[in-house]
């Protein structure tokens, strides 16, 4: 015969444990659930902030310059380079890229421009204009459209916010979304993706300065500094973008950017 009082004590312990288990389990579930909820709240809050920030930040501000707008030029003038000191201009052969002209566009020969190789630091040089500036710019942009594949693959899922932008971009084809993604990936040091998204933005709207800057920066970060300088130079030549100029200088002098 068993020791029944002892058996009863064991049974009471068994019952306590039996009750304890679901309580512990329930508490664990509640704690984990609460933790997950808090994390979710934080996540959604941060997501909202990022979106808000992204909306408030002008992603591609129009070309801004501290310089005084160049004075209106006569149509016959090709280009004038103003230097602090009078110099004897030395004609420079135009780059091959500048000769690339789309068949549908009227031919523009950059060699006709009065380009002066100054003896002063490049900082002191200011491009003040072209006689057919818009056409020239278009030519440069069109050239890189041919280099960059039009249907760049959409990046795989990375982050819910990024995903949201990617999805939105698929629908809207908004270059600002592409620029946001380019900036995002550049910040994350994912330079190949930054390049792709900047290219996407450029393909849709070639006048967004930031997207060209990001494009060139991403290229340079991937070790294609010469190519980045070349692209940027051409963009600068067609737009006289100060930002492009600054970056160009840094790239040329191999300075951090």
């Amino acid at each position: 015969m068993y020791d029944i009082p002892e058996l009863e004590r064991k049974w009471k312990r068994y019952k306590r444990n039996k009750i304890k288990k679901p309580i512990i389990l329930t508490l664990s579930v509640v704690i984990v659930g609460a933790g997950a909820y808090v994390a979710f709240l934080k996540y959604t809050q941060s997501k909202k902030e990022v979106i808000k920030e992204a909306k408030n930040t002008p992603l591609a501000p129009k070309k801004e310059t501290n310089q005084t707008p160049p004075p209106p030029l006569k149509k016959e003038e090709k280009a004038i380079i103003i230097t602090k000191t009078p110099i004897n201009p030395t004609p420079v052969a135009p780059t091959p890229a500048s000769k690339v002209v789309k068949s549908s566009e009227p031919e523009i020969d950059l060699s006709k421009a009065t380009i002066v190789k100054p003896d002063v630091p490049e900082d002191e040089i200011r491009v003040i204009g072209f006689d057919d500036k818009d056409k020239e710019k278009k030519e440069v942009l069109d050239k890189y459209k041919n280099i960059i594949p039009a249907n760049v693959p959409i990046t795989p899922k990375v982050d819910p916010i990024v995903q949201e932008y990617e999805d939105r971009f698929k629908e809207s084809q908004d270059p600002q979304d592409a620029l946001y993604l380019a900036k995002y990936f550049y910040k994350k040091k994912n330079y190949p993706k930054a390049e792709i998204w900047a290219a996407n933005a450029n393909n849709i709207d070639g006048e967004i300065e930031d997207s060209w800057i990001i494009f060139a920066k991403a290229k340079a970060k991937q070790g294609h500094r010469v190519e980045a300088i070349k692209i940027l130079q051409e963009y600068y030549d067609s737009t006289a973008s100060l930002k492009a100029k600054e970056l160009l200088d840094k790239l040329r002098r191999n300075k951090p950017f």
């Binding site: 015969m1 068993y2 029944i4 058996l7 064991k10 049974w11 068994y14 444990n17």
Partner: protein, 269 residues
Amino acid sequence: MSYFEIAKECFVDEINVENYIELPGSQKAYDELEMFLEKPFKLILLYGEPGTGKSLLLSRILDKKKYQKEIHYLDSPLLEEEEFFRKLFNILIQKPMPKNTKVDFNTFVEFCKAIKGQREIIILLDEAQLYPKKILEQIRILSDTGVLKFVISLHKTTDEDVIAKTHFQTRIWGTIELKNATKEELKTYVHQKLLKLNQFEIASQIKQKHINFIYKVTKGNFRECSKLMYTTFEIYQYYEKHDPSQFSRDKFSQKFLEMAAIAIGAIDV
């Protein structure tokens, strides 16, 4: 005898054909064994976990066939060769082996060959996993004569599988596996056991939730189930004597069932 004393007796662990409960699983095994015995198979392997009813099945077939066939049941293993030969002599010659007599194994083999076609002897060998390898080898040789047909019952473990494979692999023709009961079978088993001794009242108090618990802790093993029920009624007896207020006579006690499970080690505390 007390109310619970009778209920307890229902679950005494003994091989008693009278107390056999016909369940779908065990009936299927019985039918298979009966069919195999009718065929010219030399060796039939009966295996399963302890407490699945192997011994009871052998007892039942012996009980059913003893007037139709020459059938012998060796319920406990014969560990010594001499003891085995003595038993074999008794079976083959149908009289006890004289004292101070020794029989060479080859003589048994020759004898079996001599009576081939005249007699067909069935030997039910329980707990075969306990037999020494040498005797198992002799059993194999004897079965080859075609006169002796062995039903070898052993536990289903790795070691026993090795024994079976080593000695009998090529000769085993019929294989029967006995399994633990299903929940429904266990319910029938518990109720039928109580009804055999007219414990209708207690049987009706054992509900599905009790069966679920019994099944959970015993995994459907008949021996474990009997042990659990026996201990439960032992606990009932204790409280009936010392503190009857601890239980109701109208309701089967889940508490006592759980206490019994703790007592037999079916659940850890």
